[in-house]
Symmetry: D2
Subunit: 241 residues, 4 copies
């Protein structure tokens, strides 16, 4: 059974009654809730817990980590980010949601600024599927329509995705590469755009489906560790020829 | 100096006065005209010429071939398509425009149906640049806006592009991967979406700039031919160790 | 349960006693045998059967098709190739083995010559894993060593793979991109190099593991069909805004 | 005219007479020398200069930066690395050579460990060209043979390259993705493997050709800056519709 940890900054929920109304159990609670129905083993962790809720024990027991953050990226301690990065390179899956594009963990894995355009205007978004063969969009139609969302627009300063799965259309005239996969080390990474804190996006069945699919896709492959460093001497190799 | 051949079906121009009005010298004439200003050596060729204007002599003297077709894809003879394909695999660049997505040459090089959604509705298109480092979009701003164009929408049934350079937004709610590069054999291929025959798209300075950049990008690399087939015997190789 | 059809040309087995000795039940029999242990539903089909064993009924009931061919590529009828291609574009997985690189079905899906270098010299091959996160190499070590194989060497005239999973080293001095994934339409394709008919390669546990993993990876995603062609009129869309 | 800065750690040359013998003017001197013949404007910079020779003035005047480092990666100051990274994201080309795979600048742009296998054994390397259409390998044959080099072997822990240009074969049984391109922000990056300090690799004409080609390929595209952050309000956009 897959072990999923849903990490949420959980600050908007404390400060903004509107967000609390949309997500009474927090964004992490909403995400954990539908993941549990899929028979994953689900934990949550938040910024203000000890070690941000991401102790070695939690991280080592996590197959796939989901990350939502926005207003407090700078409060995430560098040594925790470093540990999460190591776990990803060792094989833990990572799903970065929405404003997590600016999180330390995403930026350090991408190597770019991860900057973008944005606008808060209750705007319609259509998430078009451009790679229908991808397991992350299994079971979906041609697009997902969200009546109101924050706009994110190109240029999105990311490395070219290994696989571009969805592209979003916005009412105001922008497009956005909204579903992108990457591999870093042994770890699989999926960035998925939607989920502004004031909209009930994570209650949308198709959004949930994509996140559930992504968890399955991102699970670590079972394998021996690669061997790095000084290799066998050529003589030994030649001897074994 | 680069030798460019602009191939056009040239049928709409004969049958539709509206198209003739927009492109009095044909779509090929309009494209050839701005390419000449860039100091390329430019020829044109059309469907109803002998061998569709693509004799061995013409093809062998062409560094980059530009292709516009729409209503008469089936009239292009298979043996000419096969010769064009061979030239691409041998290194000739190929720029496929707009409705050329359904041409025999593009489909045989892609291996997919190349199907898509379309709508003729005088719709606004914004061509967003998603890879600003690419030489094909050198000198441009963030996007190109075309007041009226035909809509092409996803899913566009193509192989994942080697490089996705632009993504188009349409007023009606669709997105489209509108600038895509591929390599097939030694040949570089660029598909570029805009250019419906009833709009003056190929007079737009930024559209012209992209096509000019693409010609430079697609030019053949000078190199020896690769060697295929039965390789040197291992003994010969071991002897030379 | 996944339905797998193993297609084999099955000519070497008839003509060459050495091959018959290595594969008494044919290459298709050997592959079907280990796939059955993995609880797949496995059929075989061969060139000399009616419709090459690939009737509509068989193809429509196949989730993943495995293809081995070599000396008789030209005997495969074009209309069967076309039907297989359609099924791949509609979602059927395709695993092309070894000399299948020159099969009509692989060449038409790739759009290139698929040519390469080769040498028959009882040569050592090491298949190095370059993407350890990929599900196709789950459970394996750093490389697979085959004591004796035919050499295939670069340049391999294929489109750049969507994912490069393995690279082979050969004793005589060549390298080869030996494990390559592609998507065409809704179908997932995996090319895997080893398997010359005179060596017992398909009895090697790690080779079997890769083929079994590839079958799981290539299985069709369940989804609605994409809609192509004339889209809703803009007025209808605007009305629904 | 292109402005190229060749950065070298320049420590082996000080400490190891053997290296000094091979590269009497330093590795940077050898590289600068053949680049000058190509009519580039060439500067050199080394670790022990003020600001490692990479002042704002130097960096801002550099179109393409070449990087060789090995034993003193940790001595490169983080704030200089950060400035180089910003310049790459803003469009400066970066060519990372050999042991530069472990440099701070490469690791921070890649997001992975960049680890690999190595062996010093006077081993033969063959650098096979797998993308013959790429401008970086223009003018070359099928492979480059280096009689003696250090071995680097897979698994090389890098993100999947945007373009894989060359793959190396080593006598001892390893392969290596030895020529890899990436884009980060507006900057083009090329990693090229050969160049151990005790071998005269940078005097090899074909190695020089690849580095010269790479400089041209990596030159910044002229363009306006992308705009990030809060976009125009939807009302303004709607007003302009």
């Amino acid at each position: 059974m897959l072990n999923v940890t849903v990490w949420n900054e959980n600050r908007h929920e404390q400060k903004n009654p509107k967000v609390r109304e949309v997500y009474p159990e927090g964004i992490h609670g909403a995400i954990a809730s539908f993941l549990k129905e899929e028979a994953f083993q689900v934990k949550t962790a938040t910024l203000d817990e000890h070690e941000h809720g991401l102790s070695d024990e939690v991280l080592n027991g996590t197959d796939v980590l989901i990350w939502w953050g926005h207003m407090a990226h700078e409060d995430v301690r560098d040594e925790i980010v470093e540990k999460v990065k190591q776990r990803v390179l060792d094989g833990m899956g990572l799903i970065v949601l929405h404003s997590g594009h600016f999180s330390k963990i995403f930026k350090t894995l991408m190597g770019t600024s991860c900057d973008l355009k944005w606008r808060e205007a209750d705007e319609k978004e259509r998430i078009w599927i451009v790679d229908p063969s991808h397991p992350i969009v299994e079971g979906l139609g041609e697009y997902i329509e969200l009546e109101k969302e924050e706009m994110y627009g190109e240029h999105f300063d990311i490395p070219a995705p290994d696989q571009l799965v969805t592209v979003s259309w916005f009412e105001g005239g922008e497009v956005f590469r909204s579903g992108c996969t990457y591999t870093r080390g042994h770890g699989k990474i999926f960035y998925f755009r939607p989920g502004h804190e004031t909209y009930p996006t994570y209650f949308h069945k198709d959004v949930q489906r994509i996140i559930m699919n992504a968890v399955k896709w991102a699970k670590p492959a079972e394998r021996k560790k690669m061997v790095y460093g000084n290799a066998l001497a050529l003589e030994e190799i030649k001897g074994s020829h």
